[in-house]
Amino acid sequence: MLDKLFRFLFKYPPLMFQQGDFSWGLSRPVLLVVAAGTATAVLALLTYRGVSATDRARDRVVLVGLRLAALAVLLFCLFRPTLILKAAVPQQNFLGVLLDDSRSMSIADSDGQPRSAFIQQQLDGPNARLLAALSQRFVVRFFSFASSSNRVAAAGNLKFGGTATRLGQALDRARDELAGLPLAGLVMVSDGADTSDAAIDETLASLKARSIPVFTVGVGQERFAHDVQVTRVETPRSVLKGTALVVDVVLSQTGYGGQTVPLSVEDDGRIVSTQQVTLPPEGESATVKVRFTAAEPGARLFKFKIPTQAGEQVTQNNARDALIQVNDRAEKALYYEGEPRFEYKFVRRAVEDDKNLQVVSLARTAENKYYRQAVTNPDELIAGFPKTREELFQYRALILGSVEAASFTPEQLRMIADFVNKRGGGLLMLGGRRSFAEGGWGGTPVGEVLPVVIENANAKYFSEFFQARPTRAGSTFPVTQVAGDEKASSAKWNDMPPVSSVNSVRQAKPGATVLLTGVDNRRQDQIVLAYQRYGRGKALAMPIQDSFMWRMDAKVPVADTTHAMFWRRLIRWLVDGVPEQVNVSTTADRVEPGEPIKLSVEVLDSAYVEVNDSRVLAKITSPSGRTAELPVEWTVTRDGEYRASFVPDESGIYDIRVSADRAQKPLGAAAMHVRVSAGDAEYFDAGMRAPLLRRIAEDTGGRFFTPANATALPEAISYSGRGVTVVEERELWDMPALFLALVGFIAAEWGYRRMKGLA
């Protein structure tokens, strides 16, 4: 409406004023006439100098002002204002029209119509008005784009079934395809819901450099009226079988704020967990901790799902999938205890039935006398604590009990620190009279690694019994959440038997997270469990001496397995994600059909030093059972890093096993799975992304349109000044606005005189 009014008053649409240059078409005769008229007017005014009048000064000002304004309008017209435009020559320029062919275009959020309706109505068929208008001016070339971009003969060829949207790739393709042709610009009709990870900056810079404007037409609503979305699920790529997982699920919604809905977790179709969650307020995201157990081994597809709510506009974004490799193997941890004590016995008891943990234990019962348990072979740890890196680094976690730092050589201390920092293992130091400050660990490389500050030793310190309680972080941490939900876990901790400490540990290091804490008999805080990431690994401190009370205390029923659960989870967490000598990863656990799977392999020797001269081979088994071998080559740019890629030709789960050897000796092997399937990313964050489309347009010199103002698109492209153009001069002196202004000023003067009795 405003646009039409503007066009009526000023003859041309606003964009022509934006695109054009303003100039005066003043000729010399007209200039002489204007000069003569001005001189006459000045002389006439001078003759009035001596005339006295009875009217008021204000009236004189108003009347003179109105007369001068009328004269100014006349003068403006006499100066012949002109708009200089570069107009595309009809049918001399090409126009690339890029049409979004992805699934999200079928979302019906435009007055009940799918987003694709705009394309079907305006750009397809004989009655398509926008197409007709464009075709009059340009040679139109259509491109469809989704996960890839293709030339299409007509908009009617689109199926709107693409499983990804890659705006940058589509623009690059059209730019390259139309290179060398006179190009007026590109039109991109899309909801802007880009699903690629790549940044678009390079594409836009390239278009700008080539002076190719992109005119974007954003279809769909920016926000849905009614929608629930499982925005993100953060799961580990691989876990040990039987691990109790607590994963973050990010939810968002519109139209259902504050409602409680069930959130379920399915393991290959079988529901393994359901919990009630409260949806966040409008426009906000909420992170929900979801607990479930990875009970079945293999590559498991977990689905996190909220049922469809009444009136929801997009139902496909109510579920997210995550592929998790559930490993059924026994991970090795070493527990070195410096003295016979009950804590040792009960930690061992807690984990001995866990088939996926092998806690090799070494108890120093007397000087140079060790008692070994759960060793793999008779020679393991025969001489006590490992003396070489190769020996120590075979374990994924190390638990140090009540053992003093002085019993290790300086090299062993550095080795333990490197176990965390370089090997990426998990280290746990337990409380005891030979631990922390009391064990002389302050100032050692290991003390550096620990997440707590080791203060002055006090051999007489005894905290008495105190209650361990979870901190805010601990209340949702997988190890310390000891019951079904946060509230139940907190209640359970309140009910747990008290524990004691002989190590006064009060301060966590910056960057460390305290999970359990308590208050000792001096009313001072005592850390019970804290951790921090250090280098490639993680380090924990548990400065209490008798967590076995959580099992043995008289009030704990025999059937209460909290102590065992705590320790299993703690050691599982310690060994979780610890790198091997050969590690394989891909950028994503799912790729689109036809998209390459890019493998990245890290190869280390037994001392965890990068290996560059290894022969690395990937054995790839397709979903149908076909196998292929793929050599993986060293990247040269980074030590120990090897890369390869292949394009899967089947949908389903690919099994990838990588092995590495050097000089005919195996260094190790690794396995992972990648899912090849059409994704549902199109339905997530699927609101029309106006900011992105606006940015594409503005960065390239184009304009952003919506279906409501798309009729102005052909003119906007025509006068963008790109391609083969002619210069057009558009006279502006006959704009209705000027005539109305002139009449208005004269009428106002007349009216004023009548009102004041001066006529």
């Binding site: 410096g338 003295e339 016979p340 004590r341 009950f342 040792y344 016995k345 009960f346 061992r348 008891r349 234990s361 108890a363 120093r364 019962t365 007397a366 000087e367 140079n368 006398k369 008692y371 348990q373 009279r433 005894f462 019994f465 004691s500 002989v502 001496q545 008798d546 076995f548 009370m549 099992r551 043995m552 205390d553 008289a554 009030k555 704990v556 025999v558």
Partner: protein
């Protein structure tokens, strides 16, 4: 190294023998075990290993020969703890020892307990329930100083606690005989019982591949050696064997 470790109890016994006279005097001479002796206060819990002797029957506030559970108290455990302190890194309380009943919640803080002379062992229902819980959670009980005529009562009491329990005769290959010292023979010296000593055990879930919950020294009295090891009444070598068994039991109980 092994020889050196084996020599340590010998040294320990010599040390104890060296102070024999003084200790004997304090205990009222070698015949003083018939005297009543006041029970010393229990050591408050501080995380260190504390020897726990189980009391059954009425609490008279003293120990005497007439109260079989208290036989050898306190010299037996004190000597034993001193030996353990010398030999190992256990770092136990050496002078302070505890006396607790099976139904005392405090006993659950000490997962190794010692039961003496169960020939006359009697339990309340509460004690039986509590002992069952203690064993099931991970507690380890050493039973000592009883013989043939006592087995019936002992078995009856144990079956009250663990009706499903089976008693296994242990062989030398059992890990408990190798937990610290390498015990070479089960034909151990007897203080006064006619040989042989019989070593029995109750396993968790009656499964010999699992841990021993109750170690039973039947037809023998190793704590008698502990008590009198500072007197020279018996050869040092014999006392050593009794200590070795005791040390192995404790180390086993702390690791299994």
């Amino acid at each position: 190294m092994r020889r050196a470790a084996a020599a340590v109890p010998v040294i320990g016994v010599l040390i104890l023998a060296g102070v024999a006279a003084a200790v004997a005097q304090r205990r009222g001479g070698f015949g003083g075990r018939n005297r009543r002796e006041a029970i010393r206060p229990n050591a408050p819990y501080d995380g260190r290993f504390t020897f726990v002797r189980v009391r059954y029957g009425q609490d008279y506030g003293f120990v005497s020969q007439g109260l079989p559970w208290s036989h050898d108290y306190p010299a037996g455990e004190q000597h034993f703890m001193k030996i353990l302190n010398e030999l190992s890194y256990l770092h136990p309380h050496t002078d302070e020892t505890n006396i607790l009943t099976f139904d005392d919640p405090e006993i659950f803080k000490y997962p190794v307990a010692y039961l003496c002379e169960p020939g006359g062992w009697v339990m309340t229902e509460q004690e039986a329930v509590s002992l069952r819980t203690y064993l099931q959670k991970g507690g380890f009980v050493i039973v000592d100083d009883f013989r043939y005529q006592h087995w019936g009562n002992f078995e009856t009491q144990v079956l009250r606690v663990l009706p499903e329990a089976r008693f296994y005769d242990l062989e030398l290959s059992s890990p408990i005989f190798h937990a610290f010292f390498e015990i070479k023979t089960l034909d151990v010296p007897q203080y006064y019982d006619p040989p042989p000593a019989i070593f029995r055990a109750i396993y968790e879930d009656n499964d010999p591949t699992k841990r021993i919950m109750m170690m039973i020294n039947y037809n023998t009295d190793i704590s008698e050696y502990w008590e009198w090891s500072d007197t020279g009444l018996k050869p040092i070598d014999e006392s050593n064997e009794a200590y070795k068994l005791g040390v192995n039991y404790i180390i086993y109980g702390m690791t299994h």
